[in-house]
Amino acid sequence: MNNLEYIKERFNQLPVVNEQNGLGVIRQKAFDALNKMGIPTTRHEEWKYTRIGSFFNKEYKYHTAGAFSAADLAPLRLPAYEQANELFYINGHFSPELSVIRSKGLTVQSLQEASKNEYKDIVSKHLGHSSNYLKDGINALSTAFVQDGVFVHIKKGQIIEHPIYIYNITDARQANVLAQPRTLVYVGENAQVKFVETFNTLGTQESFTNRVIEIVVEKDAITEYYKLQTDASHASQVATTHIQQIGKCVTHTVTVSLNEGLVRNNLNIVLDEEYCEAHLYGIYLQQGQSHIDNHTVVDHAKPHCESNELYKGMLDDQSTGVFNGKIFVRQDAQKTNAYQSNKNVLLSENASVNTKPQLEIFADDVKCSHGCTIGRLDEESLFYLRSRGISEATAKSLLLHGFAVDILEQIKLAPIREYVDKLISERLEFDLA
């Protein structure tokens, strides 16, 4: 039985959902959309350069997570975890036992629960908003199984000192695993919060993660979000981050992709109120057969907003990189400033990159620009270093590290920045000392 049929059958086996809790309606709608649209192929414009169809011809299991010992988790933990809130998702299911909540004003509960209690208005209003921007079966697939999801609430005026670490762990020790972690985050007025998210696969079987996080940011709030992708070559993922800025607020996201398998990132930012500000940064360093696809959408729906986007990539061996950045400026969104830039370095003869920086502008009093470059390391800079007695390998890694620093500097959490710097330096065989 192929995976898609298995998924559909499993959906039908789930208990008939109560129509009144709101989730049932959203789920059924998404399931119908999945049936209608199917899994996107390369004929779908947004999936032109990324093939995921083959993942659905395999057999996967949902519930195969074995027991975890502290020793299993230890190597996965991020630095300074002792001072962080930690949320664990095992094979897409939230694990309250492993998770640690340290901060006041931070509420974490299941979406099922949240859709019935005092948060039910927030849930019914914002859950599944990403489907307005992602017209494909893969997003619908996540929403169809949303009842396993998590609701994170940050109380009005609360400054969450401890960062929230989100661990997505797929336990592929016994069988191929399909994981669908789903999260809805609500950042209340005047609150401040920082997220760090990582992905890890245990074992040697294949895993496919279809993860969606929707973040709603209220007036005067500040949200930072860091995504670290370091998963192995037998692990693939489609990761959607959908941010709605519904009051004048600031968001700051950095996506670090050091994956060895296939990764597709959807990052959507909707600037839905005047004077919003959004910063999007990304770095990808690809080797072997890996594939990275960054799709970003910045939707300027209201006037006086500003967005700033910079993605940088280094592609080695047979790796492929895709960048598709869209900026929409709606008719009302006068006085918009929107900048976008994508820079790529090709390090081998067999690496390739497809990039499409796209602008769609319906308002006239705006300043928008985008640019992209593709090239290899500058011969003159290399020569400069070589002529000063630096070996070719060191010279190259020195230049590449310099190329990456722009993005590294955007990671404001010091322990995480140092950790990422170390990972990148290791990959570049660059000796920090």
Binding site: E45, Q331, Q334, N344, L346, L347, S348, E349, A351, S352, V353, N354, T355, K356, P357, Q358, L359, E360, I361, F362, A363, D364, D365, V366, K367, C368, S369, H370, G371, C372, T373, I374, G375, R376
Partner: protein
């Protein structure tokens, strides 16, 4: 600011001055498309059997194809059975000299400012005039023949130079290429043909003037231009159509072939009727243009000034096959009122050390939508390929849109590809600067737009540059401050 807006509205209303209709008796095929229509066209043209077969093959392929819908344009479905696929100004016999052309017809061209006689002899431009898809006369034939340059209508070329036509037609844009090019291959009624032999530098600008006249027709012309080793040619095309309430379809195909060391410069000033200010009528301009740099060190340069048509769907492309070949694309696309343009280019880098340069300037006013859609592809073997693209958009008014869809695919690490784009409006400080120096707002805006488009205008041959600048001024008159 308010003044600016009202001035915008005022100038948007500026008239299309080529909208007259000429009363010429036309020889037409009944509306509708089937194999008989194609046989009818082919028989009318007295074509050889291989040409008819080629057309039928294209038609049968077209039947299986679907109309593309990916472009950023909107229009009501076209009924392909209500179009007349053949319309020719009725002429008793083949003309030998231009003096024998129907006086009505000559008047048309004089109104358009294209005199087919002496005047132009002074300016030294050889013209092939095509009305409702049939070529009615070509000037300067003899002088060109002395240099062994062939410049004639494509129907004539099919009769007289079948070996050349057979070899090259469909070699750059195959009949299976896309929906509109397949349709064109099936029903094209005329067009221009040009062959520049080895080592010849064409001494004058070659030019084709296209005019749609008859009602209910579609225009399907096909241009084939071959520059043999070491030759050079500069080619111009211009187009106009009468004002009608209906939408007329124009689906042309242009194929360029540049052999080793050859250079082709192809310039277009497109001024089809754009429809009235409510978006009624106008030409659907669905054109496939493609050139191939077949040999090493060859060069193809496209320059276009797009001001007309209610919808433009056009991507002049260059296949850079020969090593060290060069492709260029310079474009100014102006949309006003309800016009829609989805235009750009494709640069396919296949050979080593190939270079391409794209400069696209979009100006949108009224409630129009203007899109740049382009592809830069660097193949695996295209070592040291170099591309630079620049797409700038200028928005005049707050109801229009400017969009950019650049696709960049690079499969070779020695390639250097750059793309940059900006979107802005005319700065108030710029206007203020001009006002301060005694230049009124309207002139200031014209000045700024001219400066904005200059990089492209400079690429046009002189004869056209003047016309193009005037055109730019007319299409945007008043729509800017």
């Amino acid at each position: 600011m308010n003044n600016e807006l009202s001035a915008i509205e005022k100038t948007v209303l500026s008239d299309y001055k080529y909208g007259f209709v000429t009363e010429i008796e036309a020889d037409e095929a009944p509306p509708g498309l089937n194999e008989d229509t194609i046989r009818f066209i082919s028989a009318k043209k007295n074509e050889p059997e291989w040409m008819l077969e080629w057309r039928l093959k294209a038609y049968n392929h077209w039947l299986k194809m679907q109309e593309p819908n990916w472009a950023n344009i909107k229009y009501d479905p076209i009924n392909y059975q209500s179009i007349k696929y053949y319309s020719a100004p009725k002429q008793k016999k083949k003309v030998n000299s231009l003096d024998e052309i129907d006086p009505e017809l000559r008047k048309t061209f004089e109104k358009l400012g294209i005199s087919l006689d002496e005047q132009k002899r002074l300016s030294g431009v050889a013209i092939d005039a095509v009305i409702d898809s049939v070529s009615i006369g070509t000037t300067f034939k003899e002088q060109l023949a002395e240099l062994d340059i062939i410049f004639c209508s494509i129907s004539e070329a099919i009769q007289e130079h079948p070996e050349l036509v057979k070899k090259y037609i469909g070699s750059v844009v195959p009949i299976t290429d896309n929906f509109f090019s397949a349709l064109n291959a099936a029903v094209f009624s005329d067009g221009s043909f040009c062959y520049i032999p080895k080592g010849v530098r064409c001494p004058m600008e070659l030019s084709t003037y296209f005019r749609i006249n008859a009602e209910g027709t579609g225009q399907f012309e096909r241009t084939l231009l071959i520059a043999d080793e070491g030759s050079y040619v500069s080619y111009l095309e211009g187009c106009t159509a009468p004002i009608r309430d209906e939408n007329q379809l124009h689906a042309a195909v242009v194929e360029l072939i540049a052999h080793e060391n050859a250079e082709i410069k192809y310039s277009t000033v497109q001024n089809w009727y754009p429809g009235d200010k409510d978006g009624k009528g106008g030409i659907y301009n669905f054109v496939t243009k493609r050139g191939i740099c077949q040999g090493a060190h060859s060069k193809i340069s496209w320059t276009q000034v797009e001001t007309g048509s209610s919808i433009t769907w056009k991507y002049p492309s260059v296949i850079l096959k020969g090593d060290y070949s060069v492709g260029e694309f310079y474009s100014v696309a102006v949309t006003n009122n309800h016009q829609q343009a989805d235009t750009g280019t494709k640069m396919m880098h296949l050979g080593k050390h190939t270079r391409s340069r794209i400069v696209s300037k979009g100006i949108s006013a009224g409630v129009s939508q203007n899109s740049y859609r382009g592809l830069v592809h660097v193949g695996k073997n295209a070592a040291n390929a170099r591309n630079f693209s620049q797409c700038d958009s200028l928005l005049l008014g707050d109801k229009c849109g400017a969009h950019t869809f650049p696709y960049i695919e690079v499969k070779n690490n020695s390639a250097v590809v750059e793309h940059e784009a900006t979107t802005s409006k005319i700065g108030e400080d710029q206007i203020f600067y001009c006002n301060q120096r005694g230049i009124d707002t309207e002139t200031a805006v014209a000045l700024i737009i001219n400066g904005f488009a200059k990089e492209v205008m400079n690429q046009l041959p002189m004869e056209f540059a003047v016309e193009a600048q005037k055109l730019l001024a007319i299409s945007l008159e008043g729509s800017v401050g």
